[in-house]
Amino acid sequence: MVIIVEGKDDRNFFVALLNDLKNNNEIDVQDNINFDNYIEVMGGKSKLLDSNHTKYKKLKLKIDNDNIQKILFIFDCDFKEDDKNCNGMENSEKCFDNLIKKLNWNIKIDKSNNLHIFDKNLDYFLIETINDKECYNDFDNLIKCLEVESIKPNKKPIANLYRDLYPYPKFDFKDDKFQPLKQKLKNLFKKETNG
């Protein structure tokens, strides 16, 4: 199976989350599993949504050879106000549908109600789940006071500032917000560890 993500930060987050699932015996995988092997970094949202991206040709060959049998796409909806074709929940869904149609992979598509877990983007989602809620609120207020969001909302000022201050963010993977995503990962790693 493969988890398709936008960038390296997303990969690092998923490796952390998958390790948390493994350590809590919520997924049955080998002790020495290399989670990097199951994550494809596409190099940004526009590349992830581009069916002509050379990485999709590689993935198609892997699908044809039964080397990949399940794929989970993860990307940010971002802000509609950013005025890009694929931003915002509705536009993102349209672009994603278009991608799947163009890829035309012979693979089952599970487009459940939980297709879009993240409003805004993954970083906002993560910031909301840090252990110290009070700390987050103060942090959020500061960003609002500085009015940086109005300049470049998709540059994730909160997350970036937070990440600079805390190289190892204290995400609380027990937070309820993580449950739908964890369930998707559990489904992905169910029974088979290859494919």
Partner: protein, 343 residues
């Protein structure tokens, strides 16, 4: 004329050992093959070797015998070329789905085709001798494999293609090393070989042939090469073979055999540089992750994009399939820490 005209760009294999119906295309100048145990890495090299020797009927037959010998040291050591033993080795070599000679399927067609040559052959069991039908360049041939022919082959009166070499894990024997070392001397590459050996083991000062025996100078005394460790022997084999495959093809089984991982970068630099200089297409197999990573790293450093990585694996129907990574894809897979050693 295209300088790389002799390069194999694609291959199709049917009913050859573990290959039922296999196709792969897009090979480069240097091609590294990975996959799980017994998936068919060495067999792919064997199919290439037989196919590349199919320009000439006698050489084609000799290639088959060489492959048989490579696979079985006992056979090679004892030289038991009785009719019964030869038949056994044909059985090992080709798709034999029955368990005894009597149940041997008479019309099994074995087929290997590349962009260069196309051959197919079938075996017919006869009590008086093995009979092989084969087709090369659309010309049908039919020959009884008589013991006298086998003797000729074993005594090396018949050769395979001069610049199509197969380096097996146990290496070349002295006769070949002596013969091919002349190529190194003609090209004045003795110092280059000695320098490479010194990087591998700084106590090795010189390689030379003395009294028809390959020897090395180590600690002021000449020692037979057979006394060396596997890595030094493998390096001598590869170095001599690649210079002897000018405008040809070199096949190396288990290229990492005997080498410490810290030597891989030097090894790949030698192979990538000389193969380009001598216009040699290289196919090699490995199990080693460090070897594959080094291959990607050195190719990138040398900006040599004429490489591929071939990952062999099986689909749900248990059919053998190949995933051919271009330079760009291989670099990306390695940088992402992805597993490429089979699925």
């Amino acid at each position: 004329m295209d300088k790389q005209e002799h390069f194999v760009k694609n291959i199709e294999i049917k009913n050859f050992k573990c290959f039922d119906d296999f196709k792969a295309e897009g090979f480069g100048r240097v091609n590294l093959i990975g996959g799980k145990n017994n998936v068919g890495k060495s067999t792919l090299l064997e199919a290439l070797y037989i196919n590349l020797n199919s320009k000439n009927e006698k050489r084609f037959l000799n290639a088959i015998f060489k492959i048989s010998k490579n696979r079985d040291n006992f056979f090679a050591l004892n030289n038991l070329f009785s009719q019964e033993n030869i038949f056994k080795f044909y059985k090992i070599l080709f798709t034999i789905k029955s368990t005894s000679i009597k149940n041997y399927k008479k019309n099994d067609i074995n087929y290997i085709s590349t962009n260069n040559f196309s051959i197919n052959f079938e075996f017919i069991e006869e009590f008086t001798g093995l009979k092989i039908n084969y087709q090369i360049d659309n010309k049908e041939s039919n020959e009884n494999i008589a013991i006298s022919l086998l003797k000729d082959i074993f005594k090396r009166r018949i050769k395979t293609e001069d610049n199509i070499l197969f380096v097996k894990p146990i290496g070349l024997d002295n006769e070949y090393i002596n013969e091919f070392y002349e190529n190194i001397q003609k090209l004045d590459k003795e110092d280059e070989l000695n320098q490479s050996l010194a990087i591998l083991d700084n106590s090795i000062k010189k390689f030379k042939i003395m009294n028809q025996e390959p020897v090395i100078l180590q600690n002021n005394e000449y020692l037979l090469v057979t006394q060396l460790g596997d890595g030094a022997k493998q390096l001598i084999n590869i170095f001599i073979s690649i210079y002897s495959s000018k405008n040809g093809v070199l096949l190396i089984d288990e290229i990492d055999n005997g080498f410490h991982y810290t030597f891989f970068d030097k090894l790949w630099k030698i192979i990538l540089t000389i193969s380009k200089e001598q216009n040699v297409q290289v196919f090699a197999t490995t199990h080693s992750k460090e070897c594959i990573e080094s291959y990607a790293r050195v190719s990138k450093k040398l900006e040599d994009e004429e490489i591929t990585f071939i990952e062999l694996g099986k689909n749900k129907k248990d059919e053998l399939k190949a995933m051919i990574y271009s330079y760009e894809w291989l670099i990306d897979e390695i940088e992402q820490n992805h597993e490429v050693r089979g699925w």
